[in-house]
Symmetry: D2
Subunit: 295 residues, 4 copies
């Protein structure tokens, strides 16, 4: 997706501004219209703040109409293709476009119950989630009262639109919508970083699925050149890092058992804060290792 | 299986002795016959030593006949039920009685190649192995020369018969044919052993299968009341210990993230020496852990 | 000191019994006299329990007279030699027989303040303490009220007499008056216990003194043949284990920096419970180590 | 000491250039003179390289005269004040200005032996050393032959002059003459960096002296705002980091024993490479810790 400089948005005429940002809020170009007159915005945070203020300043009826304009999660709109491009992309990120029949039925049931109880669709910023965490939150939020859910829906929409602005607009500041998973391998038998170790990052699902979502090799500093996940929220969920240690030790002529005591070291952990940095280093010898959440 | 005291074997008449131990060596009661006159045996080790010496003292032709009397691994004999009870039990222990069609075909092909090359069946002490390690060794041993394989076959037979004697005879000594997997969990935030933690031991296969083979809970000392594997060889293979830590920390009112950073801690390791003690402790906090092969 | 079997104490006549145990309670043979008629005692615990009950059953006046019969800590009695043999030995164990002039003055001042406030000498089971912990407790107990200190004095006396009985009487049971400091060294680069490592145990004082109180070498299991402290209470205080690792690694042909990153690894810890087991293992490589209170 | 920009040195006339850098090489302004005509120098490394080349290009006689112009280590010149300002400052850095009479005698004896054997003074870049490492190297180098020591003397002089240039000249590049000691404390019970922990860095001497050479507090990231040693070589020698953990845990309301198991955690290590980064982190709970050389 092409990015537009904040300076350009500040300088262009109002129709162009609305054309550029009208779809940041789902089917609600009136939000962009409402803030056009407040330009120039010094920062992306100021633009995002103005848009959220415009939504909060609208009448409750207007807000409800707007909320109701959002598609069902993994709903018929998703299957029929009747969503904005952003929504399609976002739902795919959490795997909602490849549900099993059973999971589709679960979502269908939850959507129906939620709409029956609150009169609005269930809204969640899917880019911060995995299928598992969405289902868990869905069940939990069904137990709330209507006022809580109207507030929750808005908060989630503001997260969604912050991520869309972050992708669309090239600005001097950042919206703190990104998290990170990184690692670092030290070999204390040699006293140096472990170089050339193959690492895989897997996403684990409650149903037993395990999907490799990143692979990398450690560099001269025992780190990966890029974070295993970075530049986006880290979906709330369960992960496993796989460190291919036996190949490393064999390459450094370390005597090993046959088969080696440690071949692949799996480190399983859950992410609870999508905007946080999860640094998960490994201190490893042929017969021991330790790991922790670093900083 | 009923055990017989060594003292009884020492005191009984020769036919009874041979009746008791004639099937220790597969289809070769002559081995028991050969040593009956050397009684009494002070230890099981002395009895085992006498029997291996009798085999080594036989003519090569006699030894080859004897070796050829052994069933194919996972072969037709296994399917047709034409094996001694011990052999059946032993082949089942490594999962050779529940092969997929493809694995059965692999074994069939290897058996044929091996017999074509060496004229004897492939013999291995299956109770020291998993399906994976058998296949790996099978391929490797196919590359040997005939003399090496005759020696290897005998060594494996002596391991098989040591295990059979260990099970059948109640003696003052032990044959050192058993290994162990044990663990110990310490909670250094509290400075005490972690009590009441659920632990699972899984056997992992190269084909992706994961089978829970033991479960236990830690006692007041942070250990399990019994080893996770004990009283038998630990099959050469790949294992994973699963420590259910989040439930433990929740029970001790430790503040946790939601979801907890560590829910189940998997520790994956391989066993190379079936008769060794694999003590694999865990030092664990809500945000870190370390593990090692202890002693 | 010679030990006497509990059976002998149970069988002998009353004067002999009192002759044997009359000095367990300082200048108070009446305690032994009071329990002689309750013989036989099945266990040492029963004997100790009977004696403490006799003290509790005495009149308060009798108890106060008895408490007042105890020597000052590090007082003139200590210097003049006017104490029972046990008291001398006990005060020496905490180093109270080799105080500097200044420390002697500190004890003198505290003794005077304590007696002026409570009318009894300060009583503490010195074998459970170091000079530092005695001084700390002395200051703290000075702030108590009289009733609390009468109770405290009795509790300490019962600890003193339990230790004396434990040393004097050979019985089937033990009084749980002993603690232990032990260690265990693992070398995870090799996957084995570290054998032949020299270990020193130092006692550290608040005034900067450091005194080696035990040395040992690790055996084939990476442990010391005997606990570094055992068979007696571990004095409350600060300790340092010194592990001479560079010599070990040099002996195993491990490449080391010059000078080695780790030469002597000091592990400093405090003991708070004299009757507890302090197991303090070390997992060490040439460039890292970890330690913890084990179990 | 005031710094002069490399650009200024490149632009000034030759006498000024020599006036500025004439004393970089001890009593040898001819080195600066020899390179003045090669200006401009793009980098400090180029300037340093030109000066070392000029020394190597001189006749052996000239080089020996130059080498002999250097003061004795901790010699009479030091006491009499007859050294260049740089030399005085450098010898003080390793504590050579505060030797005991006995150490002074040791140096005197070694100086005499060295001069008697080689005819030149013992030269070493003292800023890369502690008193202990100098004495150790002194004894070792005494065993060399004359050619080795002439080479060694030059190498040490080039290290000395690199450090002098680094301090005197403000250039776009750096000469890689600096090392670093840093740390990082993580509290895995809370899953966060340990904030506000007091840390001391001590230099330990073979004679038992322990001198605090830096103190710091950890910041919000569990690190110190500045390296404990930085911006200069880290003297080869033995160090101890003292982490005041009990105060930290008490401040975070962590339940502790009395006295706490860990009060001050000492981590002792040796520095072998003065230009390297020694990152020595601590992962610590109230009952355990681990440390390692990081990167």
């Amino acid at each position: 997706m092409r990015t537009v400089p904040l300076a350009t948005l500040n300088a262009t005429d109002k129709p162009d501004f609305v054309a550029e940002l009208g779809d940041i809020y789902e089917h609600a170009p009136w939000v962009a219209e409402a803030v056009a007159g407040q330009r120039p915005f010094a920062t992306l945070a100021a633009l995002h703040g103005a848009m959220t203020a415009a939504v909060r300043a609208a009448t409750r009826e207007q807000r409800l109409t707007f909320i109701k304009g959002h598609p069902d999660l993994a709903g018929k709109a998703a299957r029929a293709g009747d969503m904005t491009t952003d929504s399609k992309f976002e739902q795919a990120s959490a795997g909602l476009d490849r549900l099993s029949e059973r999971e589709f039925a679960d979502f269908h049931r939850l959507n129906d119950s939620y709409k029956a109880k609150f009169g609005i669709p269930f809204i969640i910023c899917v880019r911060r989630h995995t299928k598992d965490s969405i289902l868990r939150l869905f069940e939990r939020r069904l137990a709330n009262d209507a006022a809580t859910e109207e507030t929750a829906a808005l908060e989630e929409i503001f997260r969604i639109t912050a991520l869309r602005l972050d992708q669309r607009v090239d600005a001097p500041d950042q919206l703190k919508v990104h998290g990170r998973i990184s690692t670092h391998i030290l070999d204390p038998c040699s006293g140096v970083p472990a170089v050339g170790v193959t690492i895989e990052l897997l996403e684990l699902s409650a149903n037993g699925d395990r999907r490799v979502i990143a692979t990398a090799q450690t560099n001269q500093d025992g780190r990966t050149d890029h974070p295993l996940i970075g530049g986006r929220p880290v979906p709330i969920g369960c992960y496993e890092l796989h460190f291919h240690m036996a190949a490393y030790f064999a390459a450094t002529a370390t005597p090993l058992a046959e088969p080696p005591f440690l071949e692949v070291v799996p480190v399983r952990f859950a992410v609870a804060e999508p905007e946080a940095h999860y640094h998960v280093p490994l201190l490893v010898t042929p017969w021991s290792y330790s790991t922790y959440r670093g900083s």
